[in-house]
């Protein structure tokens, strides 16, 4: 039987998407993982990939249509099949319930739903996270263990405690942390990988991923006419950038502050990290990750900067999720590293590298680029000293990072050569006043000047 291709549920808040373009012709032969459709949410543009090998038969949907998530938009099967929706639509239990009470579109009639046909996302979201002791949670984060997989024994079987995580780990196949993370990102089950008696490495995982099918992204269509040399349609990433930048600039009360920071110690610190960990980690942390860690510490200390404005309130946010601007062929993308304050440099670095790689190859998932609470944008590599970036709504502020360049500086009475940089903090004055924002920036500056304190504060 043909496989139904549906619009994935791209996040908890996404109810509808706009169809941008089909990437394949009706009836074309497609491969599992091939990008066949491009849709847009209020946050970004996402590819929809083929979920089977075969011939694709498109539904009656065209560019511009607004579709609820989980709508079946095509089927992939034999060459001679025709598009039709089965009796049991690929609709989540939530949606079914909603349909039942709200009497929505007839195509979403209530039917017998096989649990196995429920999309993964709902299953994930609906799964309860058990209680875990702080110590167990800490170990789980450190080892990359999903506590939902761990059987609790603490407090009479209601709480995951440290020894439960330890027991869980002892049953897991041995893999390097990097391999584990790549596998997690790719949705690969490590226990399915046969590494014999040895430890599963990055190479093993990447090999398995490649075998599963690589994804190629199609270039954006280009049109040109008249005396316009080239026409770039305001859609996709570009369209979203255009819209969101304008909204941000027109609705926020932007204030920019510049502050010089002596980065000599930061440069030295980064060099030491590189010498010490590059071999072991397979990479060494860049300034972006170091600054993310510094900003996370600052955001924890000054929670008013880790905030967003909603209709009638300013909300200080529980998580410190830092977006780091990445320049891609398609335009600016801001992948978000989650809970930066709770993670070590190594984990931040690994996650950011994966996120950036996915962003550059056009394979960012919605979760990759949403949920940020603060953004860092670095133009130092282009010799920019300072600039006034646009706040990435609904965040409260953005930090522009300039180049690091030697300058003569007075230390006491002595003129010295120091590696200097300029920080540009743009913040939304609706949420935060000048002096508190300045204190936040000072704190960041202090940590740049004395990065050794990172481990202490």
């Amino acid at each position: 039987m043909a496989e139904e291709l549906f619009i994935p549920k791209l996040g908890q808040t996404v109810e509808t998407v706009t169809l941008i373009a089909w990437k394949v012709e009706d009836g074309a032969k497609v491969e599992f993982g091939q990008e066949v459709l491009e849709v847009e949410t209020d946050k970004a543009v996402f590819p929809v990939e083929a979920n089977a090998n075969g011939y694709i038969h498109l539904g009656p949907y065209k560019a511009g249509d607004v579709l609820p998530v989980l709508t079946v938009v095509a089927i992939i099967g034999k060459q001679d099949e025709k598009f039709a929706v089965s009796a049991a639509p690929a609709v989540g239990a939530e949606e079914l319930e909603k349909a039942a009470t709200e009497e929505s579109a007839p195509s979403r009639a209530v039917g017998a739903v096989q649990p196995s046909s429920l999309p993964q996302a709902v299953q994930e979201g609906g799964r309860e996270v058990p209680f875990a002791s702080p110590r167990a949670r800490r170990l789980a984060v450190e080892k990359g263990v999903d506590v939902r997989q761990v059987s609790p024994t603490g407090g009479g079987g209601v709480r995951v405690v440290e020894k439960d995580v330890v027991a869980y780990l002892s049953r897991q196949p041995k893999a390097t942390p990097l391999a584990r993370r790549i596998a997690e990102a790719e949705g690969l089950d490590l226990s399915a990988l046969n590494a014999g008696e040895g430890v599963i490495t990055k190479t093993d995982v990447l090999g398995a991923v490649k075998a599963g099918g690589a994804v190629q992204s199609a270039p954006l269509p280009i049109s040109a006419e008249g005396d316009v040399r080239e026409r770039i349609p305001l859609k996709g990433v570009r369209g979203i950038i255009a819209e969101r930048m304008a909204v941000s600039v027109h609705t926020t009360a932007r204030v920019t502050m510049f502050m010089d920071a002596d980065a000599t110690e930061l440069v030295r610190f980064r060099k030491r990290l590189k010498e010490r960990y590059e071999k072991e980690w397979d990479f060494s942390p860049g300034y972006n990750e170091l600054l993310a860690k510094i900003c996370a510490s600052a955001l924890r200390r000054y929670p008013y900067m880790n905030a967003r404005l909603v209709e009638d309130a300013i909300e200080h946010l529980a998580h410190v999720n830092i977006g780091i601007a990445v320049d891609t062929d398609r335009g600016l993308l801001v992948p978000v590293v989650r809970d930066v304050d709770a993670k070590g440099l190594r984990q931040i670095g690994e996650e950011f590298r994966q996120l950036a790689e996915r962003a550059r190859s056009g394979r960012s998932q919605l979760d990759d680029i949403s949920g940020g609470t603060f953004t860092i944008t670095n133009l130092g590599m282009y010799d920019i000293d300072y600039f006034t970036p646009v706040i990435n709504l609904p965040e409260a502020a953005i930090l522009g990072v300039g180049r690091i360049v030697p300058r003569p500086v007075y230390i006491g009475d002595e003129l010295m050569r120091r590696e200097m940089m300029t920080l540009s903090l743009v913040f939304d004055h609706r949420l935060v006043d000048g002096a508190p924002a300045a204190r936040f920036l000072q704190y960041i500056r202090d940590l740049i000047e004395e990065p050794a304190l990172l481990g202490v504060l």
């Binding site: 002791s133 702080p134 110590r135 167990a136 949670r137 800490r138 603490g154 407090g155 009479g156 709480r159 405690v161 440290e162």
Partner: protein
């Protein structure tokens, strides 16, 4: 005209007689007038700032009463001491102006007073004390208190220090009619009289304690008549005339200096303004106010000096201009003086630690030896305490002991036994049953240079002395901008176990840990008791040293050499892997018993004895929690707001991510400690409950 002349003639006669009698020079008289004028313009200026709402905070103005402070301080010698009150600008000025020896110094003093009232960093107390807490301990002004009657015991203590140091300085203690009805007044006058202490009690009877007139507050209309009850001289004088005040105080000061004991001088006076800025003065008539204002020392003393031919009108006017200029300068100084910086918030709470890293390391080595040396002598907890005090008294002659039954009797629990015989009745002093004044006298003696070790027989009685120890002793350093130290030890004991019920069995340490500025020490073993008491005596801060009544007979190894245990270092009494058990005092012993039982079940408990609750060695606790992931706190205090709750809060803040189970506490029932042994046992944590708690965090 004839009447005026007659009156003038009488004034000349009176004033001249007083001047002659006291042998005062023109310079001295003009100084008194200048001080009166300076206090008046200072107070009027503050009233003005308050009414313009430029100045915040309470200000109790001295205007109208100037003759008392100026006259009384004029009777002192430069090295004498004073204590002051919430209405204290007059005392502070008369004293400070006298202490400053140059015109520049006098201006600086005036500036610092004004800046302090305005809460500026340039003030006497760096803006931390304000109007009610101006002090200049270095020059003998032991400071003002915001508690009515709060400084009377402190003055007694300062006078006791003079007596013990065998010098002839006198303490002048100002307070008001209101304070004369506090228990402090009675306890203090009795104690000072009993020991013939060199203190002069000056009551400023301004007729009203806030709104209540004296006649509604006392059956006896004369305050000075109360002196009879204590067997000391008492006298009521005209407090509107600096010369009569000076004459009476001088007589009393000379008596005190001769070692003949205290006197009580009641000065009849009146305050021009209300009790404070917010007081509408509805309790007194404008007629009464006007009647008193006829005797305004600001005008009257000036006139008197003119009539007596001491001062010309031109001189008086020049003086007035000089005073106004001085006020202007003081305001300019105060306005220019910066606000205290945020960094000042937490400075001056405690005197700097006298303990070095070497002390801590040395003690750690010694502790190891105590634990492992089988040949070390064993002595009891009470013997260890006696040794500690004896050694410190031999080492430092400023150390003395006083309290109820500490002398011949040797203390209710024998912790001072033998010291009276060795050191005599003036270094081991039996006191009347006057807890508040024992506490306050310790504060005053400490501020005046002694190192008192005061005993309060039961911790249950320490609330009687709480104002003195906590409001004065613990806070004075901070309120006075770090310009005093209060090196005193209050020894007391607590705990249940003797079936002596609710007033003799409590563990009240958290009353004391709550106040900033005082340390709280609670030893569990003879070794700790000796080393910690010696350290507490040598420390420059107030220390509440709480022993346990059930431990006095417990024996343990104690080195014979001189040693101290620096305050703020916990002791891991038993290392372990699985559970961090934090306790102190007697409960340490029960915790160790529980740990042995649990060891048989394979649960390895680490028992930490805090030894000092303040300063708290949280680092040792956190390091242990990071290792074990589990926390049990054991205390004999009532569970409700016990100190162990504070330790738990800090663990939560500092090591939440290392916890593998909810923290558990074992504490006493929230009931008054009952007499019946069966109920007492139920109320107090026992070994079984501690074992259960550890099992619970392991489940």
């Amino acid at each position: 005209m004839a009447i005026m002349d007659k009156e003038a003639a009488r004034t000349i006669e009176n004033v001249s007689a007083l001047i002659e009698e006291q042998g005062l020079t023109k310079e001295e008289l003009v100084t008194m007038l200048r001080q009166i004028m300076e206090i008046r313009v200072f107070e009027n200026n503050i009233a003005n700032l308050l009414s313009k709402a430029v100045l915040k905070g309470a200000s109790h103005l001295y205007a109208g009463e100037e003759a008392v402070a100026v006259g009384a301080v004029a009777a002192l010698r430069d090295d004498d001491l004073i204590t002051s009150t919430h209405r204290g600008h007059g005392h502070a000025h008369a004293h400070g102006d006298r202490a400053a020896k140059t015109p520049e110094g006098k201006q600086q003093h005036y500036n610092r007073m004004m800046a302090e009232v305005l809460g500026k960093a340039g003030g006497y107390c760096k803006g931390k004390g304000g109007s009610m807490h101006i002090a200049d301990v270095e020059h003998g002004n032991l400071g003002a208190t915001g508690i009515v009657g709060g400084n009377i015991p402190v003055a007694v203590g300062a006078a006791l220090a003079q007596k013990l140091m065998k010098n002839d300085r006198v303490v002048l203690c100002f307070f008001g009619d209101g304070a004369s009805n506090t228990g402090n007044f009675h306890e203090s006058l009795n104690m000072a009289a009993l020991w013939d202490l060199p203190v002069v009690f000056v009551v400023e009877n301004n007729q009203y304690a806030m709104s209540v007139p004296w006649k509604k507050a006392s059956k006896l209309q004369s305050i000075s008549a109360r002196a009879v009850a204590y067997g000391i001289p008492g006298e009521t004088v005209d407090g509107m005339n600096p010369l009569t005040v000076r004459g009476a105080v001088l007589k009393a000061v000379e008596r005190a200096r001769r070692g003949e004991g205290p006197s009580l001088i009641e000065c009849q006076t009146y305050r021009w303004f209300g009790h404070s800025h917010s007081d509408p003065r509805a309790y007194r008539t404008r007629e009464e106010e006007n009647e008193w204002k006829q005797r305004d020392p600001f005008k009257k003393f000036r006139e008197d000096l003119k009539i007596a031919g001491i001062l010309t009108e031109a001189e008086a006017e020049a003086l007035e201009q000089e005073v106004n200029r001085k006020l202007e300068t003081a305001m300019q100084f105060s306005e220019a003086s910066p606000e205290p910086g945020p960094a000042d918030l937490e400075t001056d709470v405690f005197a700097p630690s006298v303990w070095t890293k070497q002390d801590v390391e040395r003690e750690a080595v010694l502790r190891q030896r105590v634990r492992t040396d089988p040949n070390m002598r064993q002595i009891s907890y009470s013997q260890a305490l006696v040794e500690a005090m004896r050694e410190e008294m031999l080492r430092d002659e400023r150390v003395f002991i006083f309290g109820e039954d500490v002398g011949l009797y040797g203390g209710a629990y024998g912790a001072t036994r033998g010291l009276f015989e060795e050191f005599g009745e003036w270094r081991v002093i039996d006191t009347p049953i006057s807890e508040a004044t024992i506490g306050g006298a310790a504060v005053g003696a400490a501020m005046a240079g002694m190192r008192p070790v005061a005993e309060i027989m039961y911790v249950d009685f320490t609330p009687l002395a709480m104002d003195q120890i906590a409001n004065q002793g613990a806070k004075n350093r901070y309120m006075f901008g770090g310009k005093t130290t209060v090196p005193m030890v209050i020894r007391t004991e607590g705990g249940a176990g003797r079936a002596i019920a609710a007033h003799h069995s409590q563990s009240l340490e958290s009353l004391w840990t709550h106040f900033p500025g005082i340390y709280v020490v609670m030893p569990a073993t003879p070794y700790d008791a000796k080393g910690l008491l010696k350290a507490a005596i040598r420390d420059d801060n107030p220390v509440m040293f709480i022993e346990h009544k059930m431990l006095y007979k417990e024996k343990g190894p104690v080195p014979e050499e001189d040693y101290v245990i620096p305050l703020g270092v916990a002791d891991i009494k038993r290392p372990g892997r699985d559970v961090t058990l934090v306790s102190y005092s007697r409960m340490v012993l029960r915790s160790l018993e529980a740990a042995e039982i649990l060891a048989k079940e394979g649960i390895d408990v680490e028992v930490i004895d805090l030894r000092t609750l303040k300063p708290l060695d949280i680092d040792t606790v956190i390091a242990s929690v990071k290792k074990t992931g589990r926390f049990v706190g054991v205390t004999e205090a009532y569970e409700n707001t016990s100190f162990i709750n504070e330790v738990m809060a800090q663990v939560n803040e500092l090591a939440f991510d290392w916890l593998d189970a909810p923290m558990v506490r074992v504490a006493s029932a929230n009931v008054p400690v009952p007499r019946a042994e069966v109920l007492e046992d139920l109320a107090i944590p026992n070994v079984g409950r501690i074992v259960e708690a550890c099992r619970k965090v392991m489940s």
